[in-house]
């Protein structure tokens, strides 16, 4: 019955993709931070991760300081923390379990084993010398998921909602990363041009897997404006906000026309607004108007798109949505 998709399944597949994407991004950030934070700003760097998801309150209720130990613990194996990798993969697996009639057995088995692997991690696995390997495993498991999905998931409506979820999450993650790190890294007078400074910008690019591509474009000089412009606006960089939003727009248009879905025009309108923001401004204009405000607008707009998708396709009732958006399944 490839022509119909249960609204609840569409919701689950959208969130399944988002949770895996979220876990991968978090693993990237933690990994890069672990590798490149050996400077005077180490503590500040770990603290910035806590700010990424506005988790300060919950984090500091459990831990006195943001150290490599406490942050990695909180974000990898703490199952009380809804923003941990374990929680994300737990949610992804729960969605996958609901979706078992729709997804391939390989997708399910891999997520199930990934989750069981994370559940089995103990404090020893988080020891300093082993973190690199741990993050590599997590990233690879997320990418394996993506690859298995690409290679086995039947291309009907579910595939579209899966991809829409993945790109929305990725755009959101990139803006969050930039928002936190940009302000942290803005050079103070004394730092300008120092080696530490450049290495931090490079680390930021590495978090988003953009280091090499950036080098190819801007071999000679790394400036904050160029990094911000690259991460936000570069149309060829797969994690740039611009690329992700453009993909969502195309996918939404295709799924609507191919399956004759009447609804979803409001979501398309919100997306148009987003594309206009990302497609018309250059980075110097964005910086002069205020990067934080701009990123905030993008994030709010992504939430609006999710809300409209939820009402149009996932069976949510608009009045209930405040609550639902705060606790996605």
């Amino acid at each position: 019955m490839p022509d119909v998709l249960l609204a609840r399944y569409a919701d689950c597949i959208f969130w399944l993709a988002r949770y895996v994407e979220r876990a991968e991004n978090l693993a990237r950030i933690l990994d890069v931070n672990e590798t490149f934070s050996r400077d005077g700003r180490g503590g500040q760097n770990w603290r910035s991760i806590v700010q990424l998801n506005s988790d300060e309150k919950r984090f500091f209720a459990k831990h006195d300081t943001a150290s490599v130990h406490s942050v990695v613990n909180f974000y990898v194996i703490d199952n009380d923390n809804p923003t941990s990798i374990l929680s994300a993969i737990c949610n992804a697996r729960e969605n996958a379990r609901t979706l078992r009639p729709l997804i391939s057995t390989e997708m399910w088995v891999q997520l199930n084993m990934f989750y069981n692997h994370l559940l089995g991690l103990c404090a020893e696995d988080l020891a300093p010398g082993r973190l690199g390997a741990l993050f590599a495993t997590i990233k690879e498991a997320c990418q394996t998921h993506t690859g298995i999905t690409e290679g086995t998931f039947f291309r009907d409506q579910g595939w579209y909602f899966y991809q829409i979820g993945r790109y929305i999450e990725r755009a959101d993650q990139t803006t969050r990363l930039l928002d936190i790190k940009y302000h942290l890294l803005l050079p103070s007078v004394a730092d300008v041009g120092s080696p530490a400074d450049v290495s931090q910008w490079n680390a930021l690019l590495r978090s988003a897997a953009g280091y090499h591509a950036f080098r190819r474009l801007h071999a000679a000089s790394t400036t904050p404006a160029r990094v911000a412009g690259f991460l936000l606006l570069n149309p060829a960089f797969p994690r740039s906000a611009h690329h992700c939003v453009r993909e969502v727009g195309q996918l939404l248009g295709e799924v609507k026309s191919r399956y004759a879905l009447r609804r979803g025009n409001d979501a398309a309108e919100e997306l148009d607004r987003l594309q206009a923001l990302l497609g018309t401004l250059d980075v110097s204009t964005i910086l002069s108007r205020g990067l934080h405000e701009f990123l905030d607008t993008i994030q709010r707009q992504l939430i609006a798109v999710t809300r409209e998708l939820s009402v149009a396709f996932f069976g949510y009732i608009p009045e209930e949505l405040q609550v639902q958006a705060a606790t996605p399944q």
Binding site: M1, V4, L5, L6, A7, R8, Y9, A10, E94, R97, T98, R100, P101, T105, W108, V109, N112, M113, N116, Q157, F161, Y259, A260, L261, R262, R263, F313, F314, G315
Partner: protein, 474 residues
């Protein structure tokens, strides 16, 4: 030399499915060439695979969910073609009689007027649904899916223990166990002439098409599940996948103008046949338990209007009631004018004073069962019970005799089973699955459940049971 699998295996005086089976010679020979170490290794791989595949049932404890596998024993249970034909024809006969019984008690009630079964046993049964009176179901098939529990006594005779005519589960394990065996023991199965179990899903959906409301060219079938928290959720997933149909929950469905729809990304979409894995009580809060959140308000209206088919039909629970079971041989003779091919276990219906007296006098030798329970709950096994348990049982019997039946303690057959690194005899039963649309088809073999605790007769998964692959060898 390493000991091989069946060295030193002693089934004592029980009927052994492996040693006595006329069809197991080839399997025995192949097992004899396998060392116990190799068997253990393959068994542990197979069980790890079950866990990775998520072929699990869910157990709740301390508000946490735990995924358990149904332990899989890798030594198959073997049935000969001749043994299987007896079981198969016996099951077809029984299901035919059950469907005639259900059609009769919801229409003319000849059976009751002829005094074959006491009226109040049927009409006063909590699973009798007056709402079903006068409703015609397609092909007069009420029980589309049946799982008949069969045991074997010390003489090797097959006896029916229970007719599960509501929402029997376990068929997913039959198919998955076979897949597991094919991967773990290709050498054991090679050219042995095994009846395949692959096509259950195709048979099931064909039967469901046959019972769709008349005049619908391309009926839409869905499987209705209570959801991911149900212990049989894996099976619901399995069946939905095998049939290629959506797995829905009550909240995905709604009834408008006595028609059933599901909520999709493109709006409402018509549903014609529902294979429901929800008990009658929870199907429709408007018709049955008002507090049910699993069901679909208005579903019974649509059903009575003939706009949707439900499989199994509503009201089949009266046929697998343990007290009605006692009358099944008489019911078969009444409707079919045939002798039952499969016998019942001798049953004392405690609502009858004489049977109650006999039960109370022989409590320590009998198995006492509540009539309405499933899953092996509430059973007292006389020979294994303590003094105190027997006293408690006696008190319950006296307080509410019509809630109980008693049966002699059948010396269940055993099969060699790998337990803690040794092969020992363990008691087994058999649940074949039958699918009925316009006619009945029985999946060759069925689920062999094995009581893994030494001496235990209780094979239920909730009570320490495991399973085996069942081989019908031509």
């Amino acid at each position: 030399m390493n000991p091989s699998v069946l060295d030193g295996y002693d089934p004592q005086d029980f009927y052994c499915e492996m040693l006595r089976s006329p069809a197991s010679r080839a399997v025995r020979e192949r097992l004899a060439s396998l060392s116990i170490e190799a068997l253990k290794q393959r068994a542990s791989n197979a069980n790890a695979e079950l866990y990775n595949l998520g072929i699990t049932f869910t157990v709740y404890s301390d508000a946490k969910t735990i995924d358990r596998i149904l332990p899989f024993d890798v030594i198959p249970r073997v049935l000969s073609g001749e043994e299987w034909r007896e079981i198969e024809s016996g099951i077809v006969q029984r299901i035919t009689a059950i469907n005639l019984l259900l059609d009769d008690i919801y229409h003319q009630q000849h059976l009751l007027r002829d005094g074959i079964v006491p009226s109040d046993l049927i009409l006063g049964n909590r699973n009798y649904r007056p709402l079903m009176r006068g409703i015609d179901v397609p092909h007069k098939t009420y029980v589309n899916i049946c799982g008949t529990d069969i045991v074997r006594d010390e003489h090797g005779a097959f006896l029916v223990l229970e007719d599960n005519a509501r929402t029997p589960s376990g068929v997913s394990y039959v198919v998955e166990n076979r897949h597991l065996m094919l991967r773990a023991f290709p050498d054991l199965l090679d050219e042995i002439g095994l009846h395949p179990v692959e096509n259950y899903g195709a048979r099931l959906i064909s039967a469901l098409y046959e019972v769709a409301p008349a005049g619908i060219a391309d009926p839409r079938v869905v499987l209705l599940s209570p959801g991911t928290y149900n212990s049989a959720y894996f099976e619901h997933v399995f069946l939905a996948r095998e049939m290629g149909v959506p797995l829905v929950e009550g909240r995905d469905l709604l009834v408008e103008d006595d028609r059933v729809f599901m909520r999709t990304t493109g709006g409402l979409s018509r549903v014609d046949v529902i294979y429901r894995r929800i008990d009658d009580d929870y199907l429709d809060p408007g018709a049955f338990l008002p507090e049910s959140t699993l069901g679909v308000p208005g579903l019974m209206r649509a059903y009575r209007a003939g706009n949707v088919a439900l499989a199994n039909a509503v009201g089949t629970g009266v046929a697998d009631d343990k007290a009605v079971y006692a009358y099944m041989p008489r019911i078969i003779r009444y409707y079919l004018a045939q002798e039952p091919i499969l016998q019942n276990v001798e049953t004392h219906i405690c609502r009858e004073p004489e049977a109650l007296r006999y039960t109370l006098d022989h409590l320590a030798e009998l198995v006492v069962k509540p009539v309405g329970e499933a899953g092996g709950y509430g059973i007292t096994v006389g020979p294994k019970a303590t003094r105190r348990e027997l006293d408690e049982c006696r008190a319950k019997l006296l307080a509410d005799p019509s809630n109980y039946i008693s049966q002699p303690c059948v010396k269940l057959s055993v099969a060699p089973t790998l337990v803690d690194g040794h092969v020992e005899p363990r008691h087994v039963d058999l649940r074949p699955f039958a699918v009925t649309g316009s006619s009945t088809w029985v999946l060759p073999g069925g689920l062999t459940r094995v009581a893994l605790r030494r001496g235990s007769l209780v094979v239920n998964s909730s009570q320490g049971g495991g399973s085996k692959d069942t081989w019908v060898v031509a």
